[in-house]
C-alpha cells in the first residue's frame, strides 16, 4: 500500500481520553503531526489555530457534538478541502449514514485498526491533493479565461475603432453593425477625399473570429491613407487587393463594395467584388430600385497584374440612395430554415419609399429571423446623395509636420500617353504641394483645383471629349463610357504641370500652369459665357475653378491655363 509521502497535520477530537490517546499514538506512528482536541468546542478552536489537513472526529462529545463540528468546518469560507473521518462505536446503518450526511467523508468504527486507519488517511489525502490540484487548475483556467476576455475586449475595441470608423456618423450615411458582433469580419469604412467626394467601403472577410478581422487593419489603413491623399477609387482598390493578397492565407479574402459619391457631379462610381447586389433607390416616385451587380472577384484573390479596377458610374439626384449589404442579411433564416433572400429585399425596396427602406429592411430582417436572431451577421450601409453643402463630414486635414517647408521652388512634370492611361499624378503632386506650410490650410481647395485642371486637360484637351454630353440624359454614364474607350485608345499627347512658388515670412504665392497637347478652344466664347453666366462648356468645372483660385488665366489657344493662389501680403513679381 502506498504511504502518504508527506507528513500531514491530523486533528484528533475525542472526549474519551483512552480512545483519543490510542488514536493519537496510531496516527503519530504513521509519521503525522497530531493535534488533540478534548471536545467539540476545543476541536473548532484547534481547527482554526492549527489548520489541520485531515480531521478525525468523535460523533458524541460534550459541549458540541461531532455532527455540529463537521457542519461548522464545512462552513469555513475558502476553497481548502479538509477531509473528515467520523470515529464511532455506533453500528446501526442509519447512524453511520448520518456521519456522512453531516459532512463526513468517511467513518471508522471501534475498535480502531491501524491498517484500516492508515488506508483511510492515505485515500483521503489522495482525494485532498486531487482537490488542491483541481483548485489550482480551476484558478489557472479562470485566470486564463479572464485574460482571454480582457484581450478579446481590447482587440474588439481596436477592431471597432478601425473597422467601423471614419465619417460613418455623417448625416447621409445610415449603417447597421451589430454591437454584439465580436469579429464577424464585416468592415464599414467611410471618408472624404480632398476633392470633397465621399468614399465608402463595405467589406466582408471570409470566416469569423480573429482571422476574419485581422485583414481589416491594413484594409482600413490603406483606405483612409489613400483616400485622404486624393487617390482615385481604382488606386485604393488596387492597393487593398495587393495588400490582402500578400497577407491573407489561401482561401481567405474580402468581398467588398466600394463607392465614390461625387456630390458636385451627382454621380456614384461603384466597384463591387463578391458582395450581393447593391441597390440604387430613387427618391419618392423616381422608379424601381436599380441593382448594382458585383462584376469582380473579391479583394485578395487575384494578383495585382490580373486585378480589374474598372468601375461603373451611376447618376444620382439629391435624395437618391445606394444600399449595400453583406450576405448575412440575405442568408438569414427563419424558424423554418428559409432564407430572407433577395426577393424579399427587392419587394421592400420597390415599395417606392426610399427614405424608409433602410429601417423597413432592418425590421423585416429581424421579424424574419424571430427567435433565430443572429445579429452578428447583419451589416447594411445606405448612402444618400445630397447637396454638397449639406454634407457634415469633415474634409481631410493636412497635418503640418513642421512649419519649415520649401520657400522658393519650381517643378515641371509632364505625363506622356502611357502615363496618362495608367497613372494618377494627383496624390503625388498634392503631396509635394502640402510640403508648403501655408498651403496646408487650403489642402482641399488646392486638390480640387489640381484635379479639375488635370481632368480638363486630359479629357477635353488631349482626348477631345465634349463636355456637352454630360448635360444630356444619362449624360455622365455615357461620358464615362466614352472616356474609358478614348483613354485605352490613346497613343500620343501629353499633359504638363509647371509649379512655381515663392514664400516669405509675410506671404507668398503658388502658380499652377497646366498645358496639354490638345487643340485648345476659343477662349473668347468662354469669356462671353462668363459675362452672361450661362452654362456653356458645362460651366460647373470652370466656374468652380474661378471661385476657388485667386486668379485663373487662359493663355494662347486655350490649351494652357494658369491658376494662382496667394497668401499674406506678397503677390507674384
Amino acid at each position: 500500500m502506498a504511504l502518504v509521502s508527506e507528513p500531514i497535520r491530523v486533528l484528533v477530537a475525542d472526549d474519551n481520553r483512552t480512545d483519543r490517546t490510542l488514536l493519537s499514538r496510531i496516527v503519530a506512528r504513521e509519521g503525522h503531526r497530531v493535534i488533540e482536541a478534548i471536545d467539540g468546542v476545543d476541536a473548532i478552536e484547534k481547527f482554526h489555530a492549527e489548520r489541520p489537513q485531515i480531521v478525525l472526529l468523535d460523533a458524541l462529545m460534550p459541549r458540541l457534538d461531532g455532527f455540529e463540528v463537521a457542519r461548522r468546518i464545512r462552513e469555513v469560507p475558502g476553497d481548502t478541502f479538509v477531509p473528515i473521518i467520523f470515529l464511532t462505536s455506533l453500528t446501526e446503518a442509519d447512524e453511520l449514514a448520518r456521519c456522512l450526511l453531516a459532512g463526513g467523508d468517511d467513518f471508522m468504527s471501534k475498535p480502531y485498526n491501524s491498517v484500516i486507519l492508515r488506508a483511510k488517511i492515505t485515500a483521503l489525502e489522495r482525494m485532498r491533493q486531487l482537490h488542491v490540484t483541481m483548485q489550482q487548475q480551476r484558478d489557472e483556467i479562470a485566470r486564463y479565461n479572464e485574460r482571454l476576455l480582457r484581450e478579446q475586449q481590447a482587440a474588439k475595441d481596436i477592431f471597432d475603432s478601425v473597422a467601423h470608423s471614419g465619417c460613418l456618423a455623417a448625416r447621409n450615411i445610415r449603417h447597421l453593425i451589430s454591437p454584439l458582433a465580436v469579429f464577424n469580419g464585416d468592415v464599414v469604412l467611410a471618408a472624404r477625399n480632398p476633392a470633397g467626394s465621399m468614399y465608402v467601403l463595405l467589406g466582408d472577410f471570409t470566416g469569423h473570429g480573429l482571422t476574419a478581422s485581422i485583414g481589416a487593419m491594413p484594409l482600413a489603413e490603406i483606405f483612409y491613407g489613400m483616400t485622404q491623399k486624393g487617390f482615385l477609387l481604382g488606386d485604393v482598390l488596387r492597393e487593398c487587393n495587393r495588400k490582402l493578397k500578400d497577407i491573407l492565407p489561401v482561401g481567405y479574402f474580402c468581398c467588398a463594395t466600394m463607392v465614390d459619391f461625387n456630390f458636385q457631379k451627382g454621380t456614384v462610381e461603384v466597384w463591387s467584388g463578391g458582395l450581393p447586389d447593391a441597390y440604387i433607390t430613387r427618391r419618392d416616385g423616381g422608379g424601381p430600385a436599380v441593382p448594382v451587380v458585383s462584376r469582380h472577384l473579391p479583394l485578395g484573390v487575384v494578383s495585382s497584374s490580373r486585378f480589374d479596377a474598372s468601375t461603373e458610374v451611376f447618376e444620382l439626384a439629391d435624395g437618391d440612395r445606394l444600399l449595400m449589404c453583406t450576405d448575412g442579411l440575405l442568408e438569414s433564416r427563419n424558424d423554418a430554415g428559409e432564407m430572407f433572400g433577395s426577393d424579399r429585399m427587392i419587394a421592400i425596396l420597390d415599395r417606392g419609399c426610399a427614405a424608409d427602406a433602410f429601417e423597413a429592411l432592418k425590421e423585416a430582417a429581424y421579424a424574419h429571423m424571430g427567435e433565430q436572431l443572429r445579429e452578428d451577421d447583419l451589416t447594411m450601409v445606405e448612402v444618400t446623395m445630397l447637396d454638397e453643402r449639406e454634407i457634415d463630414a469633415p474634409m481631410p486635414t493636412y497635418v503640418a509636420s513642421g512649419q519649415i517647408g520649401p520657400r522658393d521652388w519650381s517643378l515641371s512634370f509632364e505625363l506622356g500617353p502611357s502615363s496618362l492611361q495608367e497613372f494618377n499624378p494627383l496624390p503625388l503632386l498634392q503631396h509635394v504641394l502640402m510640403e508648403v506650410p501655408a498651403l496646408r490650410v487650403r489642402g482641399g481647395v488646392i486638390f480640387t483645383v489640381l484635379s479639375e485642371l488635370y481632368t480638363n486637360a486630359l479629357d477635353h484637351g488631349v482626348m477631345g471629349l465634349s463636355s456637352v454630353v454630360k448635360s444630356t440624359a444619362n449624360g455622365f454614364t455615357d461620358y464615362y463610357r466614352r472616356r474609358v474607350e478614348a483613354l485605352s485608345a490613346l497613343v500620343d499627347g501629353y499633359v504638363r504641370f509647371e509649379f512655381t512658388s515663392r514664400a516669405s515670412d509675410s506671404g507668398g504665392y503658388l502658380k499652377i500652369r497646366v498645358r496639354d497637347s490638345g487643340p485648345g478652344f476659343d477662349v473668347s466664347i468662354l469669356q462671353a459665357a462668363r459675362a452672361k453666366l450661362t452654362g456653356a462648356y458645362h460651366g460647373r468645372g470652370l466656374s468652380l475653378l474661378y471661385q476657388l483660385c485667386d486668379s485663373l488665366t487662359f493663355h494662347g489657344v486655350g490649351n494652357d491655363v494658369e491658376a494662382e493662389f496667394r497668401w499674406g501680403g506678397d503677390g507674384p513679381a
Binding site: N16, T18, D19, T21, L22, L60, P111
Partner: protein
C-alpha cells in the same frame, strides 16, 4: 507497543475508573442523559481495548439510559464494577 501500551493501560485504568464513578453518580442522581453518555464513552474505550464483556455491560446500561429508566440500571452497577476490576487486573498482567 511496549512502553506506549503500558501508558495506554494506565490512561484506560484512570479514565475508565472516572467513568464508572460518573455512571454510579448518574444512577444516584437519576440523570438518564448523563448515564447514557458516560456508559457510551466507556463502551467505546472497552471495544478499543478488546474488553468485550465490559463493553456489553456498558451497552446494556446505555440502552437503559436511552429509555430514561435509571432505576432499572442500578442492578447492573455491581456487575459493572466487578467486571471493570477484572479487566484492569487482566490488562495489568499484560504490562511489561
Amino acid at each position: 507497543m511496549g512502553e506506549e501500551f503500558s501508558a495506554l493501560i494506565d490512561v484506560f485504568r484512570s479514565d475508565s475508573r472516572r467513568l464508572v464513578e460518573a455512571i454510579d453518580e448518574a444512577m444516584a442522581q437519576n440523570d438518564a442523559e448523563k448515564l447514557r453518555h458516560q456508559s457510551h464513552g466507556l463502551k467505546g474505550a472497552c471495544i478499543n481495548l478488546g474488553a468485550a464483556d465490559l463493553a456489553a455491560l456498558c451497552a446494556d446500561i446505555e440502552a437503559i439510559g436511552r429509555s430514561g429508566d435509571c432505576g432499572a440500571a442500578r442492578q447492573l452497577l455491581a456487575p459493572l464494577r466487578c467486571e471493570f476490576e477484572a479487566v484492569s487486573a487482566a490488562l495489568d498482567s499484560l504490562k511489561i
